[in-house]
Symmetry: C2
Subunit: 277 residues, 2 copies
Amino acid sequence: MTVEVTTLVNGEPFSTLSVHDRGFLYGDGLFETIAVYRGKPLLWDRHVARLLDGARRLGISLPSIADLDGDAKRLCAGVERAVLKIILTRGIGARGYLPASDSSTRIGMRLPWPDFPRDNARAGVSVRICETHLGHNPRLAGIKHLNRLEQVMARSEWSNGYAEGLMLDGDGNVIEGTMSNVFVVVDGGLITPDLRACGVEGVMRAVVLEAAANRGFRCQTRPLTLQDIDAAQELFITNSLIGVWPVRQVANREYPIGPITHKIQEAVRDAHGFERD
Amino acid sequence: MTVEVTTLVNGEPFSTLSVHDRGFLYGDGLFETIAVYRGKPLLWDRHVARLLDGARRLGISLPSIADLDGDAKRLCAGVERAVLKIILTRGIGARGYLPASDSSTRIGMRLPWPDFPRDNARAGVSVRICETHLGHNPRLAGIKHLNRLEQVMARSEWSNGYAEGLMLDGDGNVIEGTMSNVFVVVDGGLITPDLRACGVEGVMRAVVLEAAANRGFRCQTRPLTLQDIDAAQELFITNSLIGVWPVRQVANREYPIGPITHKIQEAVRDAHGFERD
């Protein structure tokens, strides 16, 4: 009998972690959520680069790329479609906030592909505006860290009818979705929110920004208001699992699925081997 | 041979938890840090009440008080001096932020009493002003939740010379220390920061507010500025482990250890059985 390995802790087939790990005690760590298709973690190099960049910003000991590669290979081999989640924490240290640990804990887990409605990428989705705000913290902005209670609280605001919720900061600027980044098309150019004060710099967001530049679309990164959302000709959300989902409706405003959204979807598909259902 | 139990997970003597627990994945949970003295967790009822209040606010299934009491008794029996940490998470749920779990995970751990310098309560401490800010989030403000990266980043700003660092919000208001609440004495009355936008409502803070009211001191809860800190006649910090530590110095400004600080220290000692070293 072969026991199928779905979780690795520091490269070993464990599925538990010490209650003294700072990732658990303080959310002192980072994660990556990665689409797996035909045995390969898609956009792997970008996910690794973001993880290491986050670790540098938080001062967490960097894992070796060989170890990360090894975990990914082991968890993805022979898998048709799944989600690979990589978590890196500051490991076990002394009690208290002082990050005295110079170890880290590396966790890999393979999860089932989510049951997203297959038609979302083609037919578009409805999103809502969340009441839970994102707090400003320039030192943590952009990083995909383990402090995600704001997203949990925002996501708990609805149970069905919406594919996603947009989150604002305390100034009323639109920052991102609970699990995605957001782009609007205004006057034929793209705008995506500035994430210097809060939000997560999604890997798919970076892919879209590059694709847009390569296709000659203007693309601005700047504060985005609800007025911009209202004035947009097209709107879409992105992440590494969903790719690009057109937004058909925000609150009472409806949007067409326009030509720029289609071109961005094509570009992402072409460049990265995503097979849309 | 008896194996001494120092950690309990849902009442069982385990020291690990599932990597799928939302407390780990998202910091989706709460904690209490409690002084143990001569077999008793001090201010236990208040800590339990705050934990349950936080659970209600986050929508986490409440543990039974009997279970919490049982954990505490088991971990504290016969212990002269220690720290009891209680953690409550939303448990294991489906992938994604939606808090669909109706279970919770209850963890208790006994930790060694920290090596705080014994003289801090009498001689006072030096504190610094941190550069890491606290983000505003009214939905999470006051709650002692597991999202503590802001505190970790703030605490990493110094390694020695200071007992604590004060944290400001993005508007420049003083909110709290990395591990403590802060009080100033101005014109013979106490002021402690308003925590409606961010910060943790410490159990010791509540004890001090009551002690102050009982002794007839005026006590205001309002936004606190660096000007207030500068203008203060006395300054002290509080938490459940340190009790009340007078602050002797913030940046270049020095403070006497004044009569009101002494009276608050006495009141806390008298009411709650803390034996100062």
